[in-house]
């Protein structure tokens, strides 16, 4: 069973539909036991960082998400990736979960329209990576994760390179939305499903 964490940070219908499309057994839940019992955990998120962190706190999920991210195959998506890092500039500055090393910043105004909305190509150094280098995925975001030791794929917008995907063992996260990225997105979700749990959490 795969738990899709519901912490009132956006609509999860698309995420559930995408896993349904590849025949995966999912449950959308905010029950700590269900999340900790699940074999794999998906941590989506759309919206503002501050309210997302507050919701995690009020639902008693901060430690639950942290334990899940450190103990089982885990996939963060969009804001769900950003929250894994240390700190964001959003909402005047918010401390995040700090599971991964790095900071979240706002795209600079001027060069391109903010938010970035649409399909952008990613570059991954390793051709075997779960994100396919040179292919396009669907992004919607105003804030980005700076390049950091866990970055495995980057993309470019507003005159800079930002983190498109991160990986540490069986902990995966993407800035883009695999559930809305067509066949390539489904391929990525399948790769996540097929990754064996490694139980290790070494540094990147």
């Amino acid at each position: 069973m795969i738990a899709i964490v519901d912490y009132k940070a956006g609509n999860l219908t698309s995420v559930k539909n995408a896993f349904d499309a590849i025949g995966a057994d999912t449950v959308v839940t905010r029950d700590p036991d269900a999340i900790l019992r699940a074999e794999r955990v998906v941590f989506p998120g759309v919206g503002a960082a501050k309210s997302a962190m507050e919701n995690l706190g009020s639902l008693g999920l901060v430690d639950v998400v942290r334990r899940a991210a450190e103990s089982k195959p885990f996939l963060g998506i969009c804001l769900g990736m950003q929250i894994l890092f240390e700190h964001t500039e959003e909402d005047g500055g918010v401390d995040l979960l700090g599971i991964l090393p790095g900071r979240v910043r706002r795209f600079p105004e001027g060069a391109d329209k903010v938010p970035q909305i649409g399909w952008n190509d990613v570059v991954a150094d390793d051709p075997r990576e779960f994100v396919k280098s040179g292919e396009e995925y669907y992004f919607v975001h105003s804030y980005y994760v700076e390049k950091n030791p866990c970055t495995v794929a980057v993309s470019s917008y507003a005159g800079l390179e930002f983190t498109a995907a991160v990986r540490r063992g069986d902990l995966f996260a993407t800035q883009f939305h695999p559930e809305k990225s067509g066949k390539l997105g489904l391929q990525l979700l399948r790769a996540f499903l097929n990754t064996p749990a490694d139980g290790r959490r070494q540094s990147c």
Binding site: G47, A48, K113, W119, E136, V140, K180, S181
Partner: protein, 256 residues
């Protein structure tokens, strides 16, 4: 590099996709879900559905159709028509649509834009507008509502700026003059609005051949373009449009 999006538009009337010229003379084109899957597999970057009879019949949007599309396609889609309040927006989003397009409603009640943006995030709120050439407004374009039936006296460029300030995440500029003509997009209007706002602008109305998209992207600074008749008729495929864009040096999503 961010790609320029090609977005098929599906006008839904009584559960069927139809196409009319200047909002009239509708012909039946097919089933919305089947067409959505076909275009998605064929390389569409996004889809937009307008439930064009919902408002006129004073009924809410067809949620069953939204749910069926959301289960069938893996690309983003927007839905418009028959949205009259925040609760309607929420139903559409929970059904699986990424974006809600408001048009006449936002003219009547501009605060729906800020309320929607606060509730769901501005990326979910699309302002659709139907401007027509008019000497009455400084920009030369006046906003119409209710499918070109009512003139509002509102200037199109001013309205776009105000909507972006209120929290619209994207603006669809549907030229009433160009709609259905297949003679090309309204470049002047599209460019003025694209330069006036800092949110993506979607050109709509008038696409008749792939070169029209190249022009609107290259010369009018559109971020995305809506196509309808030229693909619904079978005359062109999304793949052909993408190929022409790519060859002209317009960034297009080529792997799908």
């Amino acid at each position: 590099m961010l790609k320029k999006r090609v977005i098929p538009c599906l006008d839904v009337r009584n559960g069927r996709v139809t196409k009319g010229v200047k909002f009239k003379n509708n012909v039946d084109l097919g089933d919305p879900v089947e067409m959505a899957v076909g275009y998605s597999d064929g390389g569409a970057d996004e889809l937009v559905f307008y439930d064009i009879t919902a408002s006129a019949e004073r009924r809410p949007i067809d949620i069953g159709m939204v749910e069926a599309v959301a289960k069938a396609v893996r690309i983003p889609f927007a839905v418009g028509g028959g949205i009259s309040c925040l609760a309607d927006m929420e139903r559409v989003i929970l059904a699986g649509a990424e974006k809600i397009s408001v048009n006449s409603l936002a003219v009547r009640n501009p605060s729906i834009i800020s309320e929607g943006a606060a509730a769901f995030g501005r990326q979910c709120i699309v302002l659709g507008m139907d401007p027509v050439k008019s000497g009455k407004c400084p920009s030369g374009y006046e906003i119409t509502t209710r499918g070109f039936r009512e003139f509002t006296g509102m200037d199109a460029v001013e309205w776009a700026k105000r909507a972006a300030d209120l929290g619209a995440g994207e603006i669809v500029v549907n030229s009433v003059d160009a709609d259905g003509t297949r003679q090309g997009f309204e470049l002047n209007l599209t460019r003025m609005i694209a330069e006036a706002v800092n949110v993506p602008v979607v050109a709509s109305g008038g696409a008749g051949c792939p070169e029209h998209l190249v022009t609107v992207f290259r010369d009018a600074k559109a971020d995305a373009a809506i196509v309808a008749g030229m693909i619904h008729s079978g005359e062109y495929s999304i793949a052909e449009i993408k190929r022409v864009m790519h060859e002209a040096g317009v960034p297009a999503r080529m792997s799908y």
